[in-house]
Symmetry: C2
């Protein structure tokens, strides 16, 4: 059973994921690991993953057989598990709880060779619809407070398998970074009576200095204080606090915008490793005036080092205005 443990000073929770319990020799092995070989996400290998939770497949075809175009399965080495009691407890001055939660993998395509950026807009839209359905389903379990949806692309961005996939982790507590973001947005709203993200959107559209792409429903910008070079945020123009309340039409526009961003980034930086993370409101909350869901997209071009670990400060060698200019000039 995985455990959640809290740092007693800084209040940061960590997941001690005993499923993958690793000895020193395992890490030496990881560093030497090569790509290629057997892929558990390819059609025909359905029995190499835990049984599917959901799939887009021809009607009449059996679960866990080939023919699917998109597949959701539990992570084989889950960071958290659905079964059991939350059981908060102490150990001297320390606090911990059982690692209750969910950890799922969304396999976006049966084609091992394709990356997310290669997929048709309709397929990317399908992926977003599945994110929405999974959040709506997990919300029913009131022990779960937050669902983090993310994608790691490329080994340097933490992807352990090459075949294109995203993941979601549902946690029994609202993560620290999310709390900080909600708190910052709430304070701004208290002061201004306006959503801070709506204000960011207005200023970025007016200035145009950090604008990468704009369409009817979404815009893509380089944020004013990016942690990483070419960090790009995608925001819906209209205020909305919960991603999972999006209509199919909104998700079509989101897919279109993400595809444009991916094409520009891949062209400019030659298919870099990247992470993207969906930032949305805690799922047990109702509509919020002060929070605005969005996607943060981060190419992994620089390495995070001692200074960043110690300070929470980031050193970024590329001005977002320059990055926006490079990306803006790429026609896709």
């Amino acid at each position: 059973m995985p455990e959640l443990r809290k740092d007693p000073v800084i209040g940061r929770w960590v997941i001690i994921s005993t499923e993958r319990g690793r000895r020193p020799s395992d890490f030496v092995h990881i560093r030497e690991q090569k790509r290629g070989g057997f892929c558990p996400f390819c059609p025909g290998n359905e029995d190499k993953t835990p049984p599917e939770i959901f799939a887009v497949r021809p009607s009449g075809s059996s679960p866990n057989t080939p023919g699917w175009s998109l597949r959701v399965v539990p992570n084989k080495y889950p960071a958290l598990r659905v079964e059991g009691e939350l059981n908060r407890r102490g150990e001297g001055i320390y606090d911990m709880m059982n690692g209750i939660g969910a950890h799922e993998v969304i396999i976006e395509t049966p084609d091992h060779q394709k990356t997310l950026g290669d997929l048709d807009t309709t397929v990317i839209q399908e992926t977003f619809k599945v994110f929405r359905e999974r959040i709506l389903d997990l919300r029913k379990d009131t022990r779960l407070k937050y669902v983090m949806v993310f994608k790691n692309h490329g080994a340097e961005a933490g992807a352990s398998l090459e075949h294109s996939h995203s993941q979601l982790i549902a946690t029994p507590i609202i993560p620290k970074t999310v709390i900080e973001e909600m708190e910052g947005a709430r304070k701004y709203f208290g002061f201004k009576e306006r959503c801070i993200y709506c204000d960011i959107i207005r200023q970025e559209l007016k200035d145009g200095l950090r604008l990468v792409y704009e369409e009817e429903q979404f815009l893509a910008i380089e944020p004013f204080a990016p942690r990483f070079p070419f960090e790009t945020w995608i925001l819906p123009k209209r205020h909305a606090s919960h991603f999972e309340a999006s209509t199919d039409e909104i998700l079509r526009h989101l897919a279109l915008t993400l595809k444009v961003v991916l094409q520009k980034i891949n062209r400019a930086l030659q298919d870099p490793p990247y992470n993207f993370v969906l930032h949305t409101s805690p799922m047990q909350e109702d509509h919020l005036d002060y929070y605005h869901w969005h996607i943060e997209f981060m190419p992994k071009l620089t390495r995070v080092a001692g200074f960043e670990w110690g300070t929470g400060f980031y050193i970024n060698p590329t001005r977002p205005e320059d990055a926006a200019k490079y990306l803006g000039e790429i026609v896709v």
Copy 2:
């Protein structure tokens, strides 16, 4: 001139380091970079770094010539610069200030082949004495609020040069992570009237479950909620809030403890890349009852991915109790 910019939602400052201003093609180049070749930190190449700030060298020898055993120079591509005015200002809803600060490199040995773990305890002690002297010197500039001392070892831990060195960055604001740590420790003190780190030390010595090494003045433990496998903290047993108040004798014990930890880690994990970060009180503060300086040592064995970036949560596949057992069993 570098800029400090503040994320308007989360309040996180980033350094936009225009010194290294990088275009898309530069990043493609970085990913293909090979090691080896010319080293600006080797004896004979003193003119390839900015002029030295400090050096341990035979009396009578000239600055910026060979013969030194330890050398401190400004970073050639500084994240922050000493010259200029702080100049806080706004840009619409955004906040920023000039990138005032200091960024120095401590070259620990003239020998290109040696890593910190290979050096004699007396040489490691010398490095710590230099950290102390640099903090005491930078403290005189009251614009500077914090000095972060850290080391990146190995390319995967963010080291851009192979030759063994540490760095320090002095910042005009107290970094977010430091504020959180101070705040957490202050709250605990308010509640218990005891230093939380002193309580951690007492519990770890009593349990022995996460103890890696203990000597007269220091102990090395795996923390209860480590972000990374084999993350190891070194703490002085006697309460002390400021590293720079340490005596030579204390620094000798610290060097001894770090050497033991490095030998154990290198033996267990075959010379992994790592970062270490000195956590100490803001230098303009007087002695604090509630904060306790220490070193956080982090081997880089796993990759930080989307989930961590989005949540501030970490997934660690190795229980600290297991890591302590492996490291404890290694005799050095």
